[in-house]
C-alpha cells in the first residue's frame, strides 16, 4: 500500500470509476435520486455530531481566551486575574446572550406581524465555500415538525427554504443560492417578479426580474415574498430586500434589478421555520416602518394637541 504499485493504480481507477458512477446516478436522479437514502442516513448519524460540535465550539473558544488571560505570579495576583477573567467571560457571554435575546425578539416580532407559526432553530453548520452551494444546517428536524419546502426566516427577513429534513437537523437552501428562485411583490403595488441568488462568492445580492416590462421600479423599493401555491415553499409577506439598482434593458420583456437582501447571510444564527402559514396574506404588515418617514417621538408633552398631528 505504501508505494505506487500496480495494485495502487488499480485501486485508484476503481475508486475514480465508483465516484463517477455515484455522480452520474445522483445527477440523473435529481430530486428522486436513488442515493437520497444515503443522505438521510448521513444526516441522522452526523446531525447529532454537528450539534455536539457546535455546542462545544463556543465554550472552547471562551475557555481558550480565559486560560490565556490567566498569568502566573503571586497568589493574590493570580486570584484577582482569575476573577477578572471570569468576570470578562461572564460579560462576553452575557453579550452573546443579549444578542440572542434581541434576535429572538425580532423573530417574534416578524412572526407576530405576519401571523406565522414558527419553530426557532439555531444554525449549527455551514457548507464550505468551495462546494459552491449556499446551504446551512439547523438544529431542528422532523421531530420538531420541520418538513422539506418550509419557509425559513429570521428577524430581518427571508433566509431561504428547507431543502431536506433529518430527524434532529435540517438543511436550508439560502435565498442567495443561484438555484433558489423566490416569487416577490413590490411593497404597496401588485407588481410581481422573482429573485434569484448570485451566490455568496459573488457578493450576496439577488437578481430581480419583474414580469411586467412597463413596471416602474426605483432604487429603495422594498420587496416581500409573493407567496407560493399553498404557501410552499414560500409563505406570503416575508420581507426580502431593497432594490439597489435598476438595470436598463430597453425592449426586453421583463425589467431586471439588483436587490440587497435584508438578511446578512454570512452571520446567520437564530432562524425560524414557518411550520404553519398565515390564514390571510399579511400584505406589507411585516415590513418595518420606513426609516425615512418623519419619525414621531413617542413621548411628546404638548399642552394643546393639534388636530391631525398624529399622521
Amino acid at each position: 500500500m505504501n508505494r505506487d504499485t500496480r495494485r495502487t493504480r488499480v485501486l485508484l481507477a476503481l475508486l475514480l470509476v465508483t465516484s463517477v458512477s455515484l455522480i452520474t446516478l445522483d445527477y440523473r436522479g435529481g430530486d428522486r435520486s436513488p442515493l437520497n437514502g444515503l443522505r438521510s442516513v448521513a444526516s441522522a448519524v452526523f446531525g447529532p455530531v454537528e450539534q455536539v460540535a457546535a455546542a462545544i465550539a463556543g465554550p472552547v473558544a471562551d475557555a481558550v481566551n480565559g486560560v490565556s488571560t490567566l498569568g502566573d505570579g503571586r497568589d493574590e495576583l493570580r486570584r484577582l486575574r482569575r476573577e477578572n477573567a471570569e468576570l470578562k467571560r461572564a460579560l462576553r457571554a452575557s453579550g452573546v446572550d443579549r444578542n440572542r435575546v434581541a434576535e429572538l425578539d425580532e423573530l417574534l416580532r416578524v412572526a407576530g406581524a405576519g401571523r406565522y407559526e414558527v419553530v426557532p432553530a439555531q444554525v449549527i453548520a455551514v457548507g464550505a465555500a468551495q462546494s459552491f452551494s449556499w446551504t446551512v444546517t439547523i438544529d431542528a428536524g422532523t421531530r420538531d415538525g420541520v418538513r422539506p419546502d418550509m419557509t425559513v426566516l429570521n428577524g430581518d427577513g427571508l433566509v431561504g427554504r428547507v431543502k431536506t429534513a433529518g430527524p434532529s437537523t435540517a438543511t436550508v437552501l439560502l435565498a442567495v443560492d443561484p438555484q433558489s428562485s423566490v416569487g416577490v411583490r413590490l411593497e404597496g403595488s401588485m407588481e410581481v417578479g422573482f429573485t434569484t441568488g448570485q451566490g455568496l462568492a459573488d457578493g450576496s445580492d439577488l437578481d430581480l426580474q419583474l414580469l411586467d416590462g412597463q413596471s416602474t421600479v426605483v432604487r429603495g423599493d422594498r420587496l416581500v415574498t409573493f407567496g407560493s401555491q399553498g404557501s410552499t415553499p414560500y409563505v406570503p409577506g416575508v420581507p426580502v430586500g431593497e432594490v439597489l439598482s435598476v438595470r436598463g434593458t430597453p425592449g426586453s420583456q421583463t425589467r431586471t434589478a439588483v436587490v440587497r437582501p435584508y438578511v446578512d447571510f454570512t452571520a446567520l444564527d437564530l432562524v425560524g421555520i414557518v411550520v404553519a402559514p398565515p390564514r390571510k396574506d399579511p400584505r406589507d404588515a411585516v415590513l418595518p416602518p420606513r426609516p425615512d418617514t418623519t419619525p414621531q417621538p413617542t413621548v411628546t408633552v404638548t399642552v394643546t394637541p393639534k388636530p391631525g398631528g398624529g399622521a
Binding site: L12, L16, T18, R39, I124, A129, F132, T137, D202, T266
Partner: protein, 170 residues
C-alpha cells in the same frame, strides 16, 4: 482486525469534518473556507503513501458529500479528494528530504481541489460555478490552507508517526 492507522484516519476525518462545518466555514473570512479535511488527506497521504492516501481521500470526500449541509451530487468531492490523496502520496519520498515540500504539496492540493471541483461542476452545467467565483476562491483557498497547514500538518504527521513509526518522513 482494523489496523491502528485506519482507526486514526477515521478519527481524523470525523473530527476535521465536524470542525470544518461547525467552525471554519462560519468564520467571517472572505472567499474560500479553510479546508481542514483536505489537510488531513494530504497529511495522511504524505505519511503513508499514495495507496493509503487515495483510500483516505475517497472516504473523506464521500463523507463530505453526504453530511449536512451538503447539497451537491454525491461523489464530487470523493472523486476530487481521491486524486488529491493519490498525488500527495506520490510526494512522500520528497517530503522526507525537505520540510518545504509539504507546504508546496498543500498549496498545489488546495488549488487542484478548487479547480477540479469547479471543473466537474462546469461539466454538469452547475449554475453555481462562475469564473468570478472561482477567481475569488482560488487564491484565498491556497492562502488559508497553507496557513492552517503550519498548525495542522505537524499534529497530523506526529500522530501518524506514533501509530506507524517507520512510515513517516522525518
Amino acid at each position: 482486525m482494523v489496523s491502528p492507522r485506519v482507526l486514526l484516519a477515521a478519527a481524523f476525518v470525523v473530527v476535521a469534518l465536524a470542525v470544518q462545518v461547525t467552525m471554519l466555514a462560519r468564520l467571517p473570512l472572505p472567499g474560500a473556507t479553510p479546508d481542514l479535511l483536505l489537510l488531513v488527506v494530504v497529511g495522511l497521504a504524505l505519511a503513508n503513501g499514495p495507496g493509503f492516501g487515495l483510500a483516505v481521500g475517497f472516504c473523506a470526500g464521500l463523507a463530505l458529500d453526504l453530511v449536512p449541509p451538503a447539497d451537491h451530487e454525491i461523489g464530487r468531492w470523493a472523486l476530487v479528494l481521491t486524486l488529491v490523496g493519490y498525488l500527495a502520496g506520490l510526494a512522500r519520498g520528497e517530503a522526507r528530504r525537505s520540510a518545504f515540500v509539504p507546504l508546496v504539496v498543500v498549496a498545489a492540493a488546495a488549488a487542484a481541489s478548487v479547480l477540479l471541483y469547479a471543473g466537474l461542476g462546469a461539466l454538469m452545467a452547475d449554475s453555481h460555478v462562475t469564473w468570478s467565483a472561482v477567481g475569488r476562491l482560488l487564491p484565498t483557498a491556497v492562502l488559508y490552507d497553507v496557513v492552517l497547514s503550519a498548525f495542522a500538518l505537524p499534529v497530523i504527521l506526529a500522530w501518524a508517526a506514533r501509530v506507524e513509526p517507520e512510515a513517516v518522513p522525518r
